[in-house]
């Protein structure tokens, strides 16, 4: 399955890309996807799928758009 990952703000420069499509085996979880990108695990973040937050053990589906962002606080 393919999943598109969009990085936000400083994560773009840490991960080395702004937007990228990943070919993943069926059953890959959000946590599994996060292991594939170069982001510090301990760093607070919000991961959303199609506009809703996901937990690390949530299973991804073909065509998902996953967004990884620092915890912005609205300026």
């Amino acid at each position: 399955m393919t999943v598109t990952v969009k990085m936000i703000g400083p994560f773009i420069y840490a991960a080395g890309f702004s937007e990228k499509t990943f070919d993943l085996p069926a059953g890959t979880t959000a946590g599994g996807l996060m292991d594939l990108v170069n982001l510090e695990k301990s760093r607070p973040k919000i991961v959303t799928r199609n506009g809703r937050a996901v937990a690390p053990d949530d299973t991804l589906e073909d065509g998902d758009r996953v967004v990884m962002s620092p915890l912005y606080s609205g300026g």
């Binding site: 969009k6 703000g9 607070p44 506009g51 609205g74």
Partner: protein, 613 residues
């Protein structure tokens, strides 16, 4: 008394007099500074019902006990008055050297009264105050005015000034300082203009009284370095606040087309990535080591310093997706001295009203050149359209009618900042209950709503979070006086701030002591409203009707078909009032007032409106 100078500078523009007054340690401990001082002075000294743009309103410039001290990020100053756009208490903070210079001149606060006979600049140097003619720059923008001031006094002075927007009483005129800094969204620049006060310039040479200045210097300098290192490590200031635009677009919270929509496929063209690529300079406030002012060349080749609210409201909300054109609109707002958020909301509302046939006109979403012209006539109050635009969304809708009130995007008269909350109940509550009108500075809970709760929820935990953040953002940082960014964006712990406070004052406060001050100020802001509007009711804490209208729900994307529900919002509002100890109207009870040491104020307000026990 350490930490505070204990002095107020009272200036009368009518008779060109000034005097130094003192305040007590009890006053200092009860109200701390900044917003707290301003709120209490305006409560005590303003007659209810006065014209905010008349001679009886007072302009307050207020500092806090850590303002101007070398520590993260203390270069902030509060400007306040009765707001001409809301009719309630209004204020804002801005980065300026005034925070240090006014304290070094020996004052924690200025109270400006009356109206000058001709355009005037106040020059303050320690105990000396001069009333100088400013006709030479009356009618000029804030950048030319700053150049004029710097040519006279050098760049080290503290400056507050206004542009043509303030001079012409545009109701969302701001106070400006250096580079892109501005503050006082609720029309504080118009109050300054009504007094024919073009600029305040301050130079001080005295030490700021501190209990342990050596310890503070050592601590503050080390912490400034640490915050800088935290910023570098996190990469936050690569895009600064503008990084959130792309996120809002992804999660459907971006203001698009007068907040009719929450996403746009072209949003990427004006996002933080593009802004960082176009950067020619970066500016920041005094004593800041995580500078956020990303500066680009605008369409006309001028320097324009942008943050998220600017690109959100002058870009996405107007469907203008050319970054240099957004830069131009931002430059014009800064130069005219009007608020970019309200300007974006006003033009968005105007385009929407034309689009829906409620009014005739030739402005359309996406028309950057026409938007420039509209900003000019709104700032100069030129013609019928310019005068209408200068009055803000609420008054525009009252004039236009035809149901336009539903999509005039304001709360209490103040336009909503750049977060579209048609399906963010907690953030809608934050905007709704902000006592100065819809301002993001008071509380911001969208990531909390999405990550730690269910977005659909109207649960009590959302009201608790809104209040928690109002105590910190609308409270602590607004009266101790420091920028909230090290804490909210880098995770610089709140516990540092009582340490700074205790080091300069010699007191021994904990964070809990501050939360009581925060609640006291919020309660008095509500009493101010009740005194002005005895018929106050909870509808004043409602967001606009369009956020509850199923016909306004997104038709595609992650929140398709979703919209706020009024009955559930009412329940959330009940939770909020209950947690605060306020009645069903949203007014503090006598019991709450007593717990916050506001018995005298409660007795006063009861002359105007009844309080519940």
């Amino acid at each position: 008394m350490f930490g505070w100078t204990g002095n107020i500078l009272r200036v009368n523009m009518t008779d060109r007099t000034y005097k130094k007054e003192t305040f007590s340690e009890e006053f200092a401990k009860k109200w701390v500074g900044g917003r707290g001082f301003a709120m209490k002075i305006l409560w005590d000294e303003l007659e209810p019902g006065i014209d905010p743009l008349g001679p009886k309103n007072k302009l307050i410039v207020a500092l806090g006990p850590i303002a101007g001290i070398p520590a993260p990020n203390t270069g902030k100053t509060v400007v306040a008055a009765k707001s001409p756009i809301t009719g309630g208490y209004g204020d804002g903070n801005l980065g300026t050297r005034v925070s240090e210079q006014l304290r070094k001149a020996g004052y924690d606060m200025m109270i400006v009264e009356g109206v000058a006979a001709e355009p005037t600049m106040l020059y303050i140097e320690d105990d000396k105050v001069e009333f100088l003619p400013a006709s030479e720059v009356w009618g000029k923008g804030t950048y030319d005015t700053n150049d004029w001031i710097y040519a006279k006094y050098g760049k080290g002075v503290g400056v507050l000034n206004i542009g043509q927007g303030g001079e012409n009483l545009n109701l969302y005129a701001m106070v400006r300082s250096l580079e892109g800094r501005a503050g006082g969204r609720p029309g504080i620049g118009a109050v300054m203009g009504s007094k024919k006060l073009k600029a305040i310039v301050v130079k001080g040479t005295k030490p700021i009284p501190q209990a342990d200045p050596e310890a503070m210097k050592k601590l503050g300098t080390a912490d400034l370095r640490t915050v800088h290192e935290m910023d570098k490590k996190s990469g936050w200031s690569i895009q600064s606040t503008t990084g959130v635009l792309a996120w809002c677009n992804e999660v459907a919270a971006l203001p698009v087309r007068n907040m009719r929509k929450t996403q746009h496929p072209d949003a990427w063209k004006i996002d933080g990535e593009r802004l960082n690529d176009a950067r020619i300079a970066t500016y920041g406030c005094p004593t800041c080591t995580m500078r956020c002012g990303i500066t680009i060349h605008d369409r006309e080749g001028r320097e324009s310093e942008l943050d998220y609210e600017n690109i959100g409201m002058l870009g996405a909300n107007l469907e203008i997706f050319e970054l240099d054109q957004v830069g131009s609109l931002n430059y014009l707002c800064d130069d005219y001295g009007i608020d970019t958020i309200s300007a974006g909301a006003v033009l968005g509302f105007y385009a929407d009203a034309i689009d829906r046939g409620a009014i005739t006109g030739d402005f359309k979403f996406g028309d950057a050149e026409k938007a420039k012209e509209l900003l000019r006539i709104a700032s100069l109050r030129e013609g019928e359209v310019g005068n209408m635009l200068a009055d803000g969304c609420m008054r525009m809708a009252q004039k236009i009618g035809k149901g336009s009130e539903a999509y005039a995007m304001h709360v209490k008269g103040l336009e909503i900042s750049a977060y579209n909350c048609k399906f963010c109940p907690g953030m809608a509550l934050a905007f709704g209950t902000s006592p100065i009108g819809a301002h993001h500075k008071e509380s911001w809970v969208i990531t909390f709503e999405l990550k730690q709760t269910v977005r659909e929820s109207y649960g009590r935990e959302k009201a608790e979070k809104v209040i928690e953040l109002q105590r910190i953002r609308g409270g602590l940082f607004e009266y101790i006086l420091a920028c909230r960014f090290p804490w909210i964006e880098l995770g610089w712990e709140l516990e540092h701030y009582p340490i700074y406070f205790n080091t300069v004052t010699g007191l021994n406060w904990t964070l809990d002591d501050f939360w009581k001050v925060s609640d006291r100020i919020y309660a008095l802001m509500k009493f101010f409203w009740l005194r002005e509007k005895p018929d106050w009711n909870r509808t004043m804490d409602y967001p606009p009707a369009s956020w509850f209208d199923p016909a306004n729900a997104d038709t595609e994307g992650p929140i398709a078909g979703k919209i706020l529900e009024m009955d559930k919002y009412e329940e959330l509002l009940d939770h909020y009032y209950d947690l605060r100890g306020w009645d069903k109207r949203g007014i503090p009870t006598k019991k709450t007032a007593a717990a916050l040491d506001l018995q005298d104020e409660a007795r006063t307000v009861e002359k105007y409106g009844k309080l519940e026990d």
